[in-house]
C-alpha cells in the first residue's frame, strides 16, 4: 500500500500499453525541453531555435510537431490523472488538478512558441490551432479515461472534473491572449 503500490500501479499501466507509453514519454520530454528553452529565453526573439530553421520552418511541419505535443499532453494528463483519481483521496485529487492545469498552460505556451512565426498572419491561425489542439488533447484524454473502464461514478465524476480543468484553463488563457492582442 501507499506510494510504492501507487508507483507499481503506474508502471503496470505503462507496461500494459508500452508503445503508447514510450511514444508519449518521448514526446512529453521533448516538449518539456522546448518549453524550457522558451521559458528561459532561449526561444525568444533573436535567438535561433528549431522553429526558425530546418524542418520546422515549414508550416505543416510545425502543425505536425504541435499535434504530436497535443496528443502526448492529452494522453499523459489522462494517464497521470487517472492514476491519481483511482482512490479519490483529497490530496491526490488536488495534485491531479494541479498537474492538469499545468498541462493546459503548457499547451498554450507551446502554441505561442511553435507558431511565433505565424503571428503576423493575424490571430486566426493561432485560434484555429488552439481549437484543434485543445480538442484533440481533450478527445485523447477522454478516450484514455474511457479505456480505463471505470464503473464507479464518483471516480468518473472526478475525471470529468480533470477534463473540465484542462479545457477551461486552456480556453481562458487563449481568450485572454486574444483580448490582449485586440486591446491597445
Amino acid at each position: 500500500m501507499g506510494v510504492s503500490s501507487d508507483v507499481s500501479g503506474l508502471l503496470a499501466k505503462f507496461s500494459a500499453t508500452p508503445l503508447q507509453a514510450v511514444g508519449g514519454s518521448i514526446a512529453f520530454l521533448s516538449s518539456v525541453i522546448s518549453v524550457f528553452e522558451f521559458l528561459t529565453g532561449a526561444g525568444g526573439p533573436g535567438s535561433r531555435t528549431a522553429q526558425h530553421d530546418g524542418f520546422f520552418s515549414v508550416f505543416p511541419a510545425r502543425i505536425l510537431l504541435f499535434l504530436f505535443i497535443a496528443a502526448s499532453l492529452g494522453w499523459t494528463v489522462a494517464l497521470v490523472g487517472g492514476w491519481l483519481t483511482t482512490r479519490l483521496r483529497e490530496g491526490q485529487l488536488v495534485a491531479a488538478h494541479i498537474f492538469t492545469v499545468f498541462g493546459a498552460v503548457f499547451m498554450v505556451a507551446c502554441i505561442d512558441w511553435i507558431f511565433a512565426l505565424d503571428r503576423d498572419k493575424g490571430g486566426f491561425v493561432l485560434l484555429f490551432i488552439a481549437i484543434f489542439g485543445v480538442s484533440f488533447a481533450i478527445f485523447l484524454a477522454k478516450t484514455n479515461f474511457k479505456l480505463m473502464l471505470e464503473s464507479d461514478e464518483a471516480i468518473v465524476a472526478a475525471r470529468s472534473g480533470l477534463l473540465l480543468s484542462f479545457s477551461a484553463t486552456a480556453a481562458l488563457l487563449v481568450v485572454v491572449l486574444q483580448i490582449m492582442q485586440v486591446l491597445p
Binding site: 484533440f136 477522454k142 473502464l149 461514478e153 479545457s167 480556453a171 487563449v174 486574444q178
Partner: protein, 266 residues
C-alpha cells in the same frame, strides 16, 4: 440518477462549453475582420457587442441546425437525445432548448454539480460514452424519491429461456462476484460464474456483468475482450465489445439462444 452521474455530465458539459468558447472567440474575430470599421465608427460598446452576437450565432447553429452537436461535445462524446426514443431531438425540442438557454443567458449551465433544467427536461436525455454510458434523464420529484428507496439489497440472475431455462443465481450486491468484482457469463467453466455450456451459440467468455453502488453494468466480452462471436443483446441492440452499458434491473438480455434477466431482491 445519482448525484455523481449528474456531476460528471455537468462537468463534461462545461468542458465542452470551454472548447466552444474558443469557437465563439473565432466567430468574434471573424466579425471584427469582416467589419473592421465597428470600433472606429461606433465605439467600444458595439465593438464588444460582437461577443454576445457570436454566442447567439453559435448557439443557434449548435442547438437548432446541428441537433445539439458542437465541437466540444463531439470531442467529449456528449450526446443530447430524445429521452424516450433515444433518437436525435425533434425540431420543437431543439427550438425549446435554444429558447431556454437563450432566456437564461446560458448562466444555468455554469454549475459543475448540477445539470441545467434544459439538459434534464422530461423529454431530453444527456449521454456520454465516458465509462460505458452515463445517462441523465429528466426525473420528477416523485421519481427521485422512488429511485432513492429502490436501492437493491441483492440481485438474482434468472435464465428465462434456452437450454438452461429456470436456472437462478443469487448475487449479494457484488460481493459474491468471483473475479475482480465481475460476474462472468459464458460456456467456459473455468471462467464463467453463470455457466451456459449447453448453449452452443454462447462463447466461452461471453459477457461480463458488474454491480457497483447498486447500479448494474453489462459488456459483451469474448476471448481477449475482442467481443463474443454471436454478441450480447439488450432487446434488439447488440452491445459493443468491452463497452460497459448501464442497465436497469428487470432488463432482458440475450446471449446465444439464452435469455436472462436480473432482478432486485429485498
Amino acid at each position: 440518477m445519482t448525484a455523481n452521474r449528474e456531476a460528471a455530465l455537468a462537468r463534461l458539459s462545461l468542458s465542452a462549453a470551454a472548447i466552444d468558447l474558443l469557437v465563439i472567440t473565432l466567430i468574434v474575430k471573424a466579425i471584427h475582420r469582416l467589419i473592421p470599421e465597428i470600433p472606429v465608427l461606433y465605439g467600444e460598446f458595439l465593438f464588444w457587442s460582437a461577443v454576445p452576437a457570436a454566442w447567439i450565432v453559435h448557439l443557434f447553429v449548435v442547438e437548432i441546425l446541428a441537433g445539439g452537436w458542437s465541437i466540444g461535445r463531439l470531442c467529449l462524446g456528449l450526446q443530447v437525445a430524445d429521452a424516450v426514443t433515444g433518437e436525435p431531438l425533434g425540431k420543437l425540442q431543439r427550438i425549446g432548448r435554444f429558447a431556454s438557454i437563450l432566456s437564461t443567458f446560458g448562466l444555468r449551465s455554469l454549475s459543475a454539480r448540477k445539470l441545467a433544467s434544459h439538459h434534464t427536461s422530461s423529454s431530453v436525455s444527456y449521454t456520454s460514452n465516458l465509462s460505458g454510458v452515463l445517462q441523465v434523464r429528466g426525473l420528477g420529484r416523485q421519481d427521485r424519491q422512488s429511485s432513492k428507496s429502490a436501492t437493491p439489497k441483492a440481485l438474482v440472475i434468472k435464465v428465462l429461456s434456452g437450454p438452461h431455462a429456470n436456472q437462478t443465481v443469487k448475487l449479494a450486491t457484488g460481493r459474491t462476484f468471483s473475479r475482480d468484482g465481475y460476474f462472468n457469463v459464458g460456456r467456459d467453466r473455468t471462467w464463467a460464474d453463470l455457466v451456459l455450456d449447453a448453449d452452443d451459440q454462447v462463447s466461452g467468455n461471453h459477457c461480463r456483468i458488474r454491480v457497483q453502488s447498486g447500479r448494474i453494468w453489462v459488456a459483451d466480452w469474448g476471448s481477449n475482450g475482442g467481443g463474443s462471436t454471436n454478441g450480447t443483446y439488450i432487446g434488439a441492440r447488440r452491445l459493443k465489445p468491452v463497452d460497459f452499458t448501464q442497465i436497469d434491473p428487470g432488463t432482458h438480455m440475450r446471449v446465444g439462444n439464452t435469455k436472462f434477466v436480473l432482478h432486485n431482491v429485498r
